[in-house]
């Protein structure tokens, strides 16, 4: 029964992962990827790793929400509802995908996963906490501080009120048709000190 549930969840994860490249919008792609990770998280819950499984689900919900917004912001595809092609650089992608699959498959075949069942009543959540804040604390904290520094840096770099002046100074939005006049609000020229006479 457990095997059946895990098999169904894995198939769902693969199918939604495949959908990421078949849907024609960044929002749909982001949330297809989220569903794929939700299925992986559910596998974790079934495999007696409830905290890691549920943490995967809520982390991915937040991450994919952020990703959907950023994708729409940077993809010049208003709202993400306009059809767009989700794949590019086919040859490079095929080689990279083949290599990644071979590497991961080799890792799965070479690894020696524990065969013993987790005894009922084992407090796996507490065990995980002791591991993370004990032997693995240096790795855990290093990764955490690095990620935090990256996020702060990204926010500072993308902030409009940056230390080097307004970020959109002198920028021109793309035209609605090729070669056409820039769309939307026209940015004021002269470094923001433009005066009307």
């Amino acid at each position: 029964m457990t095997d059946l549930v895990i098999a169904a969840l894995c198939l769902f994860a693969v199918w939604t992962g495949w959908r990421v490249f078949r849907v024609d919008s960044m929002v749909r792609a982001s949330f297809s990827l989220m569903l794929s990770f939700v299925a992986v998280g559910a596998v974790g819950v079934v495999l007696s790793a409830p905290y890691i499984g549920i943490a995967t689900i809520f982390m991915m919900a937040v991450e994919m929400m952020v990703m959907a917004i950023f994708m729409v912001m940077f993809m010049m595809n208003p709202a993400g509802l306009n059809p767009m092609v989700m794949v590019h650089q086919h040859r490079v992608a095929a080689v990279a995908g083949g290599l990644a699959f071979a590497g991961l498959a080799a890792a799965v075949l070479a690894a020696d996963p524990p065969a013993a069942r987790v005894a009922t009543g084992t407090d796996t959540v507490a065990a995980l906490g002791h591991e993370l804040l004990g032997p693995s604390m240096l790795i855990f904290e290093t990764a955490g501080v690095t990620l935090l520094a990256t996020m702060v840096g990204a926010v500072i770099l993308s902030s409009r009120r940056g230390r080097f002046g307004p970020a959109d100074d002198g920028s021109r939005p793309p035209g609605l048709e090729p070669g056409g006049p820039p769309a939307g609000r026209q940015p004021e020229g002269g470094g923001g000190h433009h005066h009307h006479h």
């Binding site: 929002v27 749909r28 949330f31 989220m34 409830p50 905290y51 549920i54 943490a55 689900i57 809520f58 982390m59 919900a61 937040v62 994919m64 929400m65 952020v66 959907a68 917004i69 709202a79 993400g80 509802l81 407090d123 796996t124 959540v125 507490a126």
Partner: protein, 293 residues
């Protein structure tokens, strides 16, 4: 046997709580009440150009499902929850995170301006507003030394968390307002953008969306009662009755609060959330940690 009974309690609490929430909403917050839900149900649907039909139809159902899933981890009697998970509080956190996704999809899928504005505003405010509630959840788990809600209820036998963690309930109230699209945190469905994510919606879908908002209010208030008011703990009366009383009290308080606080412009609220609420939640975690030690 007891599992079936608990599932029945969850379903009954959600149904009765939603009706009570609709009535309280009408009395305390000037909402439409049960009659407006029924009128919505009977109206014809609205069509928009090239919508994402799957997400549009599923969004209200997902919202309701998240409310139900969240209520499933709430202990109805000391030691008994429908889903007694060692990571129960993380399940509620996942429900909160997925709610932001569902509200965003509800606004994105009709492919119309006002719903889309509501969706983006909600994603921008709802996500950071969720962060303080995550720290509140972590702080509530500290005295119990467990992520299980059953253990968190047990840890409050001496003193309720509302006394040990004074900042917790106010911070969680902000999360409830945000999760239920209400009052000062209603950036998704506000009247200033003609109903936001619900602007292009009528008929059963609209009724279900409004009912799901009320159902989420029931679940979030039951969670607040569990985290801070001892949940089913109390003298004389049986556990579930105490939980229902505390949940109803929280619902009335949240509805009254939501109706009395003005909604600032999104940009100012974003600043408030990041520069006031988030540091407050760090301070809350520190206070709760020191007291728990």
């Amino acid at each position: 046997m007891i599992g079936a009974l608990l599932l029945l309690a969850v379903a009954a609490t959600l149904a009765a709580g939603t009706l009570l929430a609709a009535w309280l909403d009408r009395r305390l917050a000037g909402g439409g009440g049960i009659a407006s839900l029924a009128a919505d149900w009977l109206a014809g649907p609205v069509r928009t150009e090239a919508p994402d039909d799957m997400n549009r139809r599923l969004a209200p159902a997902w919202y309701l499902a998240l409310a139900a899933a969240g209520l499933c981890v709430v202990p109805f009697a000391p030691g008994h929850a429908a889903i007694d998970s060692p990571a129960g509080i993380a399940i509620w956190g996942a429900c909160e995170a997925l709610t932001v996704v569902v509200v965003f999809l509800h606004g994105w899928s009709p492919n119309a301006p006002f719903p889309l504005i509501g969706a983006y505003r909600y994603a921008a405010i709802g996500l950071p507003a969720m962060l303080p509630s995550m720290f509140v959840l972590i702080a509530a788990a500290l005295p119990a030394e467990s992520l299980s809600l059953v253990a968190i209820v047990d840890s409050q036998r001496g003193a309720w968390n509302v006394l040990r963690q004074p900042l917790g309930l106010p911070l969680f109230a902000v999360a409830i307002l945000s999760l239920t699209l209400r009052g000062p945190m209603d950036y998704a469905d506000g009247a200033d953008i003609a109903g936001g994510t619900s602007a292009e919606e009528a008929g059963p879908a609209r009724a279900l969306w409004q009912a799901a908002r009320l159902a989420m209010l029931v679940s979030a208030c039951a969670m607040a009662a569990t985290l801070f008011l001892g949940g089913p703990l109390g003298p004389v009366l049986p556990g579930p009755v105490w939980l229902w009383l505390k949940t109803a009290g929280m619902m009335a308080a949240i509805l009254a609060l939501g109706a009395r606080i003005a909604r600032p412009p999104p940009a100012r609220m974003l600043g408030l959330v990041w520069t006031v609420l988030l540091p407050l939640s760090f301070l809350h975690l520190l206070i709760s940690g020191v007291i728990a030690l």
